[in-house]
Amino acid sequence: MTLIKSALAIVEKDLKAEFHSKEMLSVMLVFALIVLVIFNFAFDVKKQIVQDIFPGMIWITFYFSGLLGLNRSFFIEKNQDCLLGLMLAPVDRSVIFVGKMLSNFIFLLIIEILTLPLFFIFLNIALPQNLALFFLVLFLGSLGFVAIGTFLAALSVNTRASDILLPVLLFPVLIPVVLGSVAATKGIFLNMPITDWSIWLKILGVYDLLFIVVPFMLFEILLEV
């Protein structure tokens, strides 16, 4: 029980801090918008092409924007050695992982909710028939990203190379999530029958489970002083 309570305390702390400073969300949001605009110019916005690449576009935007957030989330813990302050508390260190993962998840969702409508508007994309399924894919894709991302962010921030190491470590490992979320999104927006692409939901599900559980177990070792 204390695990959940403590993790939620961390989430609350991160949300409050972000609410005051707005540093992370503003950067993520602006970045996402810039990427959207660049895509607009880089790809000739003829209707058919856009339909095809739309799923890829939104996920690339979210992942790169999310990357900024991941780095940030551990930078604030490095400041004044707050991470040590957390480790001194009478809680399992894995709690820190869960708390951080959840706050990163919330931040990413916020960015997605804010930028998706703009994507739809600028690129003239019709809303998918099954909105609920789309939200499910957003959920699973974002969760996978945030789970392994938070873990590897904690790792990279503790190295000499610090945050620049994170994309090198994260993106190869993230491939199943990238493929899964893009393929499933494609399936939804092309209104394909769910049986055609439901396998991707399973892949995302397995990935999310695996890369929440394993990092959870390894986090204690990662944070050894």
């Binding site: 609350e12 005051h20 004044q80 040590l84």
Partner: protein, 233 residues
């Protein structure tokens, strides 16, 4: 209150701490001196239950530390040269967060009280990033005392402090003594704070080479220290 029996710590091939044994009684104030690389910060990490020793026994409050002693961390308070405080949060939110992490009941009340104790009531809702260095130091102390720790560990607390801040810290040390908390201060600076100690320990090259009641003048202590540590003038 604190008991170390034959504590050894190896990292990789290096032996950082070797057969360290000592006892600290409840309410005692110990200063641990030693040059850089002596193993002080490793000792601190083991005492703070951040790190497991390679071998040996550690007892906190008579209870042997097993499996990292997560629950025993609740008895400890730490004051370090870092404040462990979040810039973007207010004084109140910072302490409320730690109150939750330590599972304190009646958190708001405890937070208000300890902030009052360090004289920061007027900045209760102020964001920490607007604090002066002195205010930051005081809030860090408040953070430590919030959980009413039986044992207070200080890790190089005088680093980077100006005269005024040193004065504040010394007052705090005095009050810790008066409140009969067990205090262990690890430092390489023996000009400050030593006067509060009941005993002096000296660590060098991972071993406890000196452990005596504090009946020294600072000058004599300095000489003994330099001699023990083997620094030629």
């Amino acid at each position: 209150m604190i008991e170390l029996i034959d504590i050894t710590k190896k990292i990789g091939d290096k032996v950082i701490l070797k057969n360290i044994s000592f006892k600290v009684s409840s309410g005692e104030f110990i200063t641990v001196l030693g040059p850089n690389g002596a193993g002080k910060s490793t000792l601190f990490k083991i005492l703070a239950l951040l790190m497991k020793p390679t071998s040996g026994t550690l007892k906190i409050g008579g209870v042997q530390v097993k499996d990292g002693g997560i629950n025993l961390r609740a008895k400890l308070g730490v004051i370090s040269h870092n404040s462990f405080l979040y810039d973007s949060l207010s004084a109140r939110d910072n302490l409320m967060f730690y109150a939750k992490m330590y599972g304190l009941d009646l958190a708001e009340k405890a937070v208000k009280e300890v902030i009052r104790q360090v004289g920061l009531e007027l900045s209760y809702y102020q964001a920490v990033k607007t604090f002066s260095r002195g205010m930051l130091q005081r809030l860090a102390i408040a953070r430590c005392l919030l959980t009413n720790p039986e044992i207070v560990l200080l890790d190089e607390p005088y680093t980077g402090l100006d005269q005024q801040a040193i004065g504040i810290l010394n007052k705090v040390l005095l009050s810790l003594k008066e409140e009969k908390r067990t205090v262990l201060m690890i430092t390489h600076n023996f000009e400050e704070g030593v006067e509060f100690s009941d005993r002096i320990f000296i660590i060098n090259r991972g071993q406890l080479i000196f452990s005596e009641p504090n009946n020294f003048e600072i000058k004599t202590l300095k000489d003994i220290y330099l001699q023990k540590v083997g620094i030629t003038a």
